[in-house]
């Protein structure tokens, strides 16, 4: 990883009237990362992505992409960025090939004709579409459109891929294909910024996770740090109260028959409990999954009751 981040934002903010759609977000995406950008629908993910691409102008704060300020430097930055924003877009009456061709020709760095044709073949092959397909996009399924959109993003062999819900509309087989493709691209050095609300997708691919909650970045951390061993053991026992007394301060959480115990060695803890006559139904190292992490992070800032509610009650 180089010192220069691929994406860096400082206090990036977008207000629509009173609503802060994106509120002082500090993103940091390193070279070679697969960055998972998580958040509920309406949390501001897409607005952030659009600001990174210079489509939406920030109210305040700054954004740097590939080391240059956006949206000012879009002419030099965007040719190195492939994007899929909120679903693919295509001219319905034209074929997939022709769509890719026109989009390429529209840019400042359009490929020469022959080169463009062979690049389109490659890209369609990569995303699993038939390069010989002459049907208009109108006849495409949602999954095929999604693949075409991804193909358009790949045309320039971008250094950075910004993908908003890239597996939308794909079947499980398709999702797995696209994941394999993205991981291969990443192995080849492409940085991937992946926005999604599908935790499993992020957990399987990403090296770093950022969580957006009502416009605020509530978490940004490497995935292996987030999911590292907790040093806790989860114990289910009908004799939970006895166990709690036995273990004392080591119990960090007790709820019904379930205990969370601070212990380095699960097997040793088991022997300790059983030898003291505590019946153990289930016992094992406690691992957090991403869902837990995200839910914890999102509840850091509970919705503040507005004054209007107080007036009403």
């Amino acid at each position: 990883m180089s010192e220069q981040p691929v994406i860096r934002t400082r206090a990036l903010t977008k207000r629509y009237g009173e609503l802060r759609a994106v509120d002082a977000v500090d993103l940091e995406v390193g070279e070679g990362d697969v960055y998972g950008f998580l958040g509920a629908n309406g949390s501001g993910k897409t607005t952030t992505v659009r600001m990174l691409l210079g489509l939406v102008l920030p109210t305040s704060g700054e954004a740097q992409v590939l080391g240059e300020p956006m949206p000012e430097a879009r002419a030099s930055v965007l040719p190195q960025v492939g994007a899929l924003v909120e679903g693919p877009g295509a001219y319905d009456h034209l074929s997939g090939r022709l769509n890719l061709s026109l989009l390429d020709a529209a840019g400042p760095d359009a490929l020469p004709r022959a080169q463009r044709r062979s690049r389109i073949d490659e890209v369609l092959e990569q995303v699993g579409l038939d390069p010989g397909d002459r049907r208009p996009v109108r006849a495409y399924s949602l999954g095929m459109r999604q693949r075409l959109g991804l193909g358009a993003a790949l045309m320039r062999r971008p250094r950075l891929l910004v993908l908003d819900e890239p597996t939308n509309g794909l079947d499980p087989q398709g999702i797995s294909e696209i994941r394999t493709l993205l991981l291969a691209l990443n192995a080849g050095g492409t940085t991937i910024f992946l926005s999604s609300h599908l935790l499993a997708e992020i957990e399987q691919m990403c090296t770093t996770v950022g969580v957006l909650d009502r416009g605020r970045l509530v978490l940004q951390e490497r995935l292996d740090t987030l999911l590292r061993p907790t040093g806790l053991v989860e114990v289910h026992s009908p004799d939970a109260r006895t166990a709690t007394m036995l273990l004392g301060d080591a119990v960090v959480e007790a709820a019904g028959e379930r205990l969370l115990v601070r212990a380095d060695d699960a097997a040793g803890l088991n022997r300790h409990l059983v030898s003291a006559g505590v019946r153990v139904a289930r016992l094992g190292p406690y691992e957090r999954d991403l869902e837990q992490v995200v839910l914890d992070a999102s509840s850091v800032a509970p919705p503040t009751p507005s004054s209007r509610v107080e007036v009403l009650t």
Partner: protein
């Protein structure tokens, strides 16, 4: 970018449908005139139509006089209204801008494409009407065409005046194109922008018929549309043609700048 837009224009079936409709109406008129031999009296109906039965070479002008007040502006409104809003609707605007295509560049390409369509439409209508006029309507008098002032025009004179008239009709559509383009950056609905433009034109026509709006008349976009008739007087009466051109350029500048001002600062979050 202009080339890409032109390719898109050509590949769009709608372009050909509109062109077909523009040709169809004068063709119908030509057939009806040829069959019935009933021409509108001099000074009635669309310009030149009263004369075409005796002189078919005037039919291109008569045909354009038929399509200019309504058909052609509607076609321009539809294409211009679609320019930006249509890209929004197909979800392609964000990909064009992220490609990146500069916003000003995109607007200019769109405007040039609409004007290119007008040029092609005017030429196609003129050529088809010329052929129809020769085949179905009267042949030119050997002595040459009679100008509106009563003198005789040589075929060469008639040719360059006709060319000038065609160019003037293209100029007349510049204002419409600029208004449509501006509305297209405001609305995210292509149909909304097109209807808004037609609304402006209808408003202009209504005000033209209203004496109380006399002070506004020189500034209305449709005021000088039929001034191309003056090119066929002897000598040419330039006043209205020049005023008409200035009015159209005025609309082009004002609404072109408005479109740019609006589009260059707007958030693309369709």
């Amino acid at each position: 970018m202009i080339r890409v837009e032109l390719v898109k224009l050509v590949l769009r079936p709608r372009t050909w449908v509109i062109l077909g409709m523009l040709v169809a109406l004068p063709t119908l008129v030509a057939i009806l005139l040829a069959v019935t031999d009933i021409a509108p009296g001099p000074g009635e109906g669309p310009p030149f139509l009263s004369a075409v039965l005796s002189d078919g070479t005037l039919f291109p002008l008569a045909a354009l006089g038929v399509v200019l007040p309504l058909f052609l502006p509607i076609a321009v409104a539809v294409l211009g209204g679609d320019a930006v809003a249509g890209e929004v609707q197909s979800g392609t605007l964000r990909y064009l801008l992220a490609r990146p295509v500069g916003r000003l560049r995109l607007l200019v390409a769109k405007l040039v494409t609409v004007v290119a369509f007008v040029v092609i439409a005017v030429l196609v209508v003129a050529v088809v009407a010329y052929v129809e006029g020769r085949l179905l309507l009267g042949t030119a008098p050997a002595a040459g065409t009679v100008s509106l002032s009563g003198s005789t025009l040589t075929p060469a004179q008639l040719a360059w005046r006709t060319a000038l008239a065609l160019a003037y009709m293209v100029v007349c559509m510049l204002g419409v194109a600029a208004v449509a383009l501006f509305l297209s950056t405001v609305s995210s609905s292509a149909i909304g922008a097109a209807l808004g433009t037609v609304g402006v034109l209808i408003g202009s026509t209504v005000l033209l018929g209203l004496d109380a709006a006399q002070a506004l008349h020189p500034f209305l976009p449709t005021r000088y549309w039929l001034a191309f008739v003056d090119l066929f007087r002897d000598p040419v009466l330039w006043d209205d043609v020049v005023r008409g051109t200035l009015v159209q350029l005025g609309y082009l500048v004002v609404f072109g700048l408005a479109a740019w001002a609006n589009f260059s600062t707007s958030d693309v979050d369709d």
